[in-house]
C-alpha cells in the first residue's frame, strides 16, 4: 500500500524489489570477483600461470546454490500471484472493449465511456476483450496489464487505494495508431463515484451523437476539431464536397446523409482521397447511425 | 571415427544427415498435429460430425496405396544393394505410379469437396460452425502439405530412376536411393496418422 496507489501495485513492487536485489547482489559479486582477478592475475603481476583444471566440490556448490537461489526467486515472484490473479467475488465488473485504436469501458448498467472511472476502496474487476486484433491494457501506476484477445475474455482486478488520474496504455502492438491508443483511469472517492454512477442517462442524451462517436471508437481515427488524424476530420464534413475513389475511379461526391451511411456501412466503397482504406466496418445499429448523422450535421 | 578421405563418400554420414532431416520433419508436422489436437479438444462434437463428411472408402484405398508404395521402394532399395538394377528400376517406377495414384485419388476427394463449396474462405464453409471451419481448414492444410511431400518424393524418385539407369547408383554407392527411401517411408508414416485423424474419428 505504501508502495503504490493500489493493492496490487504494492505487492508487485515488493516482489520486484526482492528479486532485483538478489540479481544486483549476484551481479556485483560476479563483477567484483572478475575485476579482482583481472587485477591480481595480470601478466605483469603474475607472469607464471598455474593450471587448475577443475574442482568438483566447487562445481557442485555453484550448481546447487544457484538452484536454491532461483527457486527462492521463483517463489517470491509467485507468492502473491494467485492473489493478484483471482478477483474477489464481490468485485465490481467492468467490461473493457479494445479496438483499433480506442477503448470502451462498459459498466453493469450498460453505460459506456472512454474514460475508466473507479471508486477508491472497492475491488474492481476488468473483463477484457477485443473486437479486432490483440491489444493490451496497461495501467503503469498499478503495475498490471493483460492482453485483450479477440474471441476470448481475460481479466484484471485491483482495488484503488488513492484517488488520482492515471494513464492507461495499450502495450500490445496493434497497428498504426498503437502509440496513441491511450486512455485515463480516474480513481475517485467512493461517494463521488456513486454520484457519477447514479446520474441518469438523460443527462447525457444531449450529446448522444458524440457519446456514440466516442464509444464506438470513431474518435480513435477521426476528430471533431478540424485536425486530420488517421481518417479525415468530421468538422465541416457535412455538406462539403469530397473527392473519393470508387472502384479505382476518382469522383467527387457531396457528403450527405446517404454518403455518411455508406461510409460507415461499407467503408471500402468510397475511399477518401489521400487516406488509406483501413476503416473497419463497425457494428452500428440504424438508430445509432441516425444519431451520428444528426450529430455530424451540427459540426459546422 | 572416420576422417573424410579425399573423394570418398561417408555413407553413414549421409544417412545421419537424412535422419536429422526427418527429425526436423517430425517437428514440422508436429506443429500441425499440435493445432489439430488443440482444436479437436475444443470442438470434439464438430470434429466428430465433420469427419463423417470424408469419403472413407477413398481414404482407405489411399492408405493401402501408400503402404504398398512403401513396400515397393523398400524392395527397390534391397534390389540395388543386391545388384539387380533391372528389378530395382521396375519397383521404383511402380512406387512412382503408386504415388501418382495417391495424388490422383486425393485430387478426386478435394475436387468433390470443392464443388460442394467446401474450401477455406468459401461462403459455404464460413457459414458453418466454428469447429467445422477449423476441421476442414486443417484437413486441407494437412493433407495438402502432405501431398506436397508426396509430390516432392515422386520427383526425387524419378531422378533416382535416372541415376540407376546411368549407373550413378550402384551396389557400392546407394546412399542416394537409401535416403530417398527413408524420406518416402516417413511421408507414409505421416499419412498413417492423418488417416485415422481425419477419416476415422466419426
Amino acid at each position: 500500500m505504501i508502495l503504490g496507489p493500489s493493492n496490487v501495485a504494492g505487492k508487485i513492487e515488493t516482489s520486484f524489489l526482492i528479486i532485483t536485489a538478489a540479481c544486483v547482489a549476484l551481479l556485483v559479486a560476479v563483477t567484483i570477483t572478475m575485476l579482482v582477478f583481472i587485477y591480481k592475475y595480470n601478466r605483469r603481476r603474475n607472469p607464471v600461470p598455474e593450471d587448475i583444471e577443475e574442482n568438483l566440490p566447487l562445481e557442485v556448490v555453484w550448481t546447487v546454490l544457484p538452484t536454491l537461489l532461483v527457486l527462492g526467486m521463483f517463489y517470491f515472484g509467485w507468492v502473491d500471484f494467485d492473489y493478484i490473479r483471482n478477483p474477489p467475488k464481490d468485485a465490481m465488473p467492468i467490461d473493457v472493449i479494445a479496438r483499433q485504436w480506442s477503448w470502451t469501458f462498459r459498466y453493469q448498467d450498460g453505460r459506456q465511456t472512454d474514460t475508466l472511472r473507479v471508486p477508491v476502496g472497492k475491488p474492481v474487476k476488468l473483463v477484457l476483450t477485443s473486437e479486432d486484433v490483440i491489444h493490451s491494457l496497461f495501467i503503469p501506476a498499478y503495475r498490471i496489464k493483460e492482453d485483450c484477445v479477440p474471441g476470448l475474455k481475460t481479466h484484471l482486478w485491483f482495488n484503488a487505494d488513492q484517488t488520482g488520474t492515471f494513464d492507461i496504455f495499450c502495450t500490445e502492438y496493434c497497428g498504426l495508431e498503437h502509440s496513441h491508443m491511450r486512455a485515463k483511469l480516474i480513481a475517485m472517492p467512493a461517494a463521488d463515484f456513486e454520484r457519477w454512477y447514479e446520474t441518469k442517462e438523460e443527462a447525457k442524451r444531449a450529446n448522444k451523437g458524440l457519446e456514440l462517436l466516442t464509444t464506438k471508437g470513431c474518435l480513435g481515427c477521426h476528430t471533431i476539431d478540424g485536425s486530420p488524424k488517421v481518417g479525415p476530420t468530421f468538422k465541416g464534413l457535412f455538406g462539403s464536397t469530397v473527392t473519393v475513389t470508387t472502384n479505382g475511379k476518382e469522383r467527387t461526391v457531396t457528403a450527405d446523409e446517404e454518403y455518411v451511411e455508406r461510409s460507415v456501412r461499407n467503408p471500402g466503397a468510397d475511399v477518401v482521397k489521400g487516406y488509406p482504406n483501413i476503416m473497419p466496418r463497425l457494428p452500428v445499429t440504424d438508430e445509432e447511425l441516425k444519431e451520428i448523422v444528426d450529430y455530424l450535421e451540427t459540426l459546422k | 571415427m572416420i576422417v573424410q578421405a579425399a573423394g570418398r563418400r561417408d555413407r553413414i554420414g549421409a544417412k545421419y544427415g537424412m535422419w536429422l532431416f526427418l527429425f526436423t520433419e517430425i517437428l514440422f508436422f508436429g506443429g500441425m498435429f499440435l493445432l489439430y489436437s488443440v482444436y479437436r479438444s475444443e470442438y470434439p462434437v464438430e470434429f466428430h460430425a465433420s469427419a463423417a463428411e470424408e469419403n472413407l472408402l477413398l481414404g482407405s484405398i489411399n492408405t493401402a496405396v501408400l503402404l504398398t508404395s512403401s513396400l515397393f521402394i523398400a524392395v527397390a532399395i534391397s534390389a540395388v544393394k543386391k545388384g539387380s538394377y533391372r528389378l530395382s528400376i521396375i519397383f521404383q517406377v511402380a512406387t512412382i505410379l503408386m504415388g501418382l495414384a495417391f495424388l490422383g485419388i486425393k485430387s478426386v476427394e478435394w475436387s468433390e469437396k470443392i464443388t460442394r463449396g467446401i474450401y477455406p474462405n468459401s461462403p459455404v464453409l464460413d457459414k458453418m460452425k466454428m469447429g467445422d471451419i477449423l476441421f476442414f481448414g486443417l484437413y486441407y492444410v494437412m493433407t495438402g502439405i502432405h501431398g506436397i511431400h508426396v509430390f516432392i518424393g515422386i520427383c526425387v524418385i524419378s531422378s533416382m530412376v535416372y541415376f540407376t539407369l546411368t549407373g550413378n547408383i550402384t551396389k557400392e554407392n546407394f546412399s542416394k536411393i537409401e535416403n530417398t527411401g527413408l524420406y518416402w517411408h516417413f511421408v507414409d508414416i505421416v499419412w498413417i496418422y492423418l488417416f485415422p485423424l481425419f477419416y476415422l474419428i466419426t
Binding site: 601478466r43 603474475n46 490473479r85 | 536429422l20
Partner: protein
C-alpha cells in the same frame, strides 16, 4: 589479403573451376563460404544499425519525427533484420563454417555442396526480405513477432517478408544438420568428445536447437501465409481460431532461437578466455554439459513471453518455474569463466577486453531476464522498455560482443593480417560507455511504464529517452572506430604469424590464412 611470400597457397588463392566472383559463389570450401557469410552478415548488421539509430533519433523527443507509419515499419524491419538476417545465423554460419572443420581436424564439413546450397538459400531468403521492404505495399509493420491476427490483416508486404523468413529458416535447419553430422563423423583421430574445443560443443548444442526448433517456426509461418493468401483462419477468432495458439507456436521456436544466438557466442568466450589467461578452461566438462543443458531446458520455457497474453495461470506458473531453471547452466558457465582467470597470467590483448565485457553485459541481460521471468514483475514489465533493454543486453551485449570478440580473435587467422590494438581498445571503451548509456536508461524507462513500439510518448519520459539517444551516438562512434580499424588492417596491416596469441587449438597450428585443404596431413590428437 595477399600472402604471396609464403610457399603455400592460402584458400584465397586456391584454384577452382571458376574465376572471379563465381569462384566464391560456386565454392564449396567452408572457409570461403564462411567469409561470404561474414560479409553478408556485417552488411545487414550495418543496415539494422542505421535503422536502430533512426529509431533513437525519432525517439529523441515526443512527437512526430518520422511519422508513425514509418516508425512502425522501421522498428519492424530493424527487428527482422537483426534477428533473422544477422544474429540467428550469426556465429554459426560465419565463424562456425570457417573454424568448425579446422577445430576438429577435418578438411571440410560433412556436406560441402549442401553447405554451398545453404548459403544460396540464405541469399535467396535475404533477397526476399529485402524485396519486401521496397515492393509496393510497403515494408512489414508487424514487429518481428508477426502476431496474428494483426499480421493476417495488415496490408503491408507481410507475405513476402514471411516467405523470406521461412526460406531463411530452411537455411538455418540445413546448417544445423550439416554441423551435427560433421561433429559426429569427421573428428580427427584421437579427437574424442571430451577433447573437442568448447566452441565445437556449443555449435553442437546449437545445431540441435536449429534442427528441432526451426521447423516449428516454418510451419507457423506457413499458417500465416495460408491465412493471408487462402483465408485459412487458424488464428482468426471469427473462424474459431485461437490467436494465443499462434503465440505458443511462434515462441516455441523463438525462445530456443535466443539460445541459437547466444550459445555459440558463449563458445567463443570459452575459447578466448583460456588463451589470454594462459591456462586451460576451468571445469571443461561442466562448461560443455551446461551448453547441452541450456539447449534442452531452453526448449520448454517459451511461455514466459506470454505471461500477460491471457494464457492460463497454471501454464504461467509452470513456465516461470522452468524459466528459472535455465539460469543454472548459464550461471555455471559464468562461474567457470571467472574462475579460469584465477591464478592465470592475463594478457591484455584486444579480444579479451570484449570477452570480459561480454560476461558483464550478458550477466546484466540474463539477470534482468530472471526479473521479467518472475510472475509478478512480469505483469508490470512485459511490453515495456524494460524488455527492450533486456534483450539488447543479451543480444547486443551478449551475442554481439561475442561476434566482436571473435572478429578480433580470429581476424589474423581469417585474413592473415594483424590489426593495431590501440584503436581497438579505444573503440571498445567508447562502445562500452555508449552501450550502457543507451540501454541502461531503457531499464528505468521500462520500470516507469514506457511501452515499447511507441513512437510518441508522454513528456515525462523525455529525459531518459534523450540520454538513451545520446548514448546511441556514442555507441556509433565506438563501433565506427572498431570497424575502421579492422577495415584498414584488412588492407594495410602487417602479416600475421600462424599463432599470434599463443592459442592451443588446431587452427593455430596451420598458417594464416589457412591453405585450401586446411591440413597438409590429417592431424592426430594425443594427450
Amino acid at each position: 589479403m595477399e600472402n604471396t611470400a609464403s610457399e603455400y597457397e592460402s584458400f584465397y588463392h586456391g584454384k577452382g573451376k571458376y574465376k572471379g566472383i563465381l569462384s566464391w559463389l560456386m565454392s564449396t570450401d567452408h572457409k570461403r563460404i564462411g567469409i561470404q557469410y561474414l560479409v553478408a552478415l556485417l552488411t545487414f548488421f550495418s543496415v539494422g544499425v542505421l535503422l536502430g539509430l533512426l529509431i533513437r533519433l525519432s525517439l529523441i523527443a515526443p512527437g512526430k519525427f518520422i511519422g508513425q507509419e514509418t516508425y512502425n515499419r522501421v522498428f519492424s524491419v530493424h527487428g527482422i533484420i537483426m534477428i533473422f538476417l544477422f544474429i540467428i545465423p550469426g556465429v554459426p554460419v560465419a565463424f562456425g563454417n570457417f573454424f568448425l572443420p579446422i577445430l576438429i581436424g577435418a578438411r571440410d564439413v560433412a556436406f560441402p555442396r549442401l553447405n554451398r546450397f545453404t548459403w544460396w538459400i540464405y541469399l535467396a531468403g535475404a533477397t526476399l526480405v529485402v524485396f519486401s521492404l521496397f515492393a509496393a505495399g510497403g515494408a512489414p509493420d508487424t514487429g518481428w513477432t508477426f502476431y496474428a491476427p494483426y499480421s493476417i490483416r495488415a496490408k503491408a508486404n507481410i507475405t513476402l517478408a514471411v516467405t523470406g523468413v521461412f526460406v531463411l529458416g530452411f537455411s538455418s535447419i540445413l546448417t544445423g544438420i550439416n554441423f551435427v553430422t560433421t561433429i559426429h563423423r569427421l573428428r580427427a583421430p584421437g579427437m574424442t568428445w571430451f577433447k573437442l574445443p568448447l566452441f565445437v560443443w556449443t555449435l553442437y548444442a546449437t545445431g540441435w536447437v536449429q534442427l528441432l526448433a526451426t521447423p516449428v517456426l516454418a510451419i507457423t509461418l506457413v499458417f500465416i501465409i495460408l491465412g493471408r493468401v487462402f483465408g485459412v483462419g487458424f488464428f482468426d477468432p471469427s473462424k474459431g481460431g485461437d490467436p494465443i495458439l499462434y503465440e505458443h507456436l511462434f515462441w516455441t521456436y523463438s525462445h530456443p532461437a535466443v539460445y541459437i544466438m547466444v550459445l555459440p557466442a558463449m563458445g567463443i568466450i570459452s575459447e578466448v578466455i583460456p588463451v589470454f589467461a594462459r591456462k586451460k578452461i576451468f571445469g571443461y566438462k561442466a562448461v560443455a554439459f551446461s551448453a547441452i543443458g541450456i539447449a534442452s531446458v531452453g526448449y520448454f520455457v517459451w511461455g514466459h513471453h506470454m505471461f500477460t497474453s491471457g494464457m492460463s495461470d497454471t501454464a504461467r506458473i509452470i513456465f516461470s518455474f522452468i524459466t528459472f531453471l535455465v539460469a543454472v547452466p548459464s550461471g555455471i558457465k559464468i562461474f567457470n569463466w571467472v574462475s579460469t582467470l584465477y591464478k592465470g597470467s592475463i594478457v591484455g590483448s584486444a579480444p579479451i577486453y570484449f570477452a570480459l565485457t561480454f560476461i558483464f553485459l550478458f550477466s546484466i541481460g540474463g539477470l534482468t531476464g530472471l526479473i521479467i521471468g518472475s510472475l509478478e514483475p512480469n505483469l508490470q514489465l512485459h511490453g515495456t522498455y524494460f524488455i527492450v533493454a533486456h534483450f539488447h543486453y543479451v543480444m547486443f551485449g551478449g551475442a554481439g560482443f561475442a561476434i566482436l570478440t571473435a572478429l578480433h580473435y580470429w581476424f589474423p587467422k581469417m585474413f592473415g593480417r594483424m590489426y593495431p590494438e590501440r584503436p581497438a581498445k579505444i573503440g571498445w571503451f567508447i562502445l562500452f560507455i555508449g552501450f550502457n548509456l543507451l540501454y541502461f536508461s531503457m531499464f528505468i524507462l521500462g520500470y516507469e511504464g514506457m511501452p515499447r513500439r511507441y513512437f510518441d510518448y508522454p513528456p515525462r519520459y523525455f529525459p531518459l529517452h534523450l540520454v538513451s539517444t545520446i548514448g546511441s551516438w556514442i555507441l556509433a562512434i565506438g563501433l565506427a572506430i572498431i570497424a575502421g580499424n579492422l577495415l584498414r588492417a584488412l588492407f594495410k596491416g602487417p602479416k600475421a604469424p600462424a599463432d599470434p596469441w599463443g592459442g592451443r587449438t588446431l587452427e593455430w597450428t596451420i598458417p594464416s590464412p589457412p591453405p585450401t585443404e586446411n591440413f597438409a596431413e590429417t592431424p592426430v590428437i594425443r594427450d
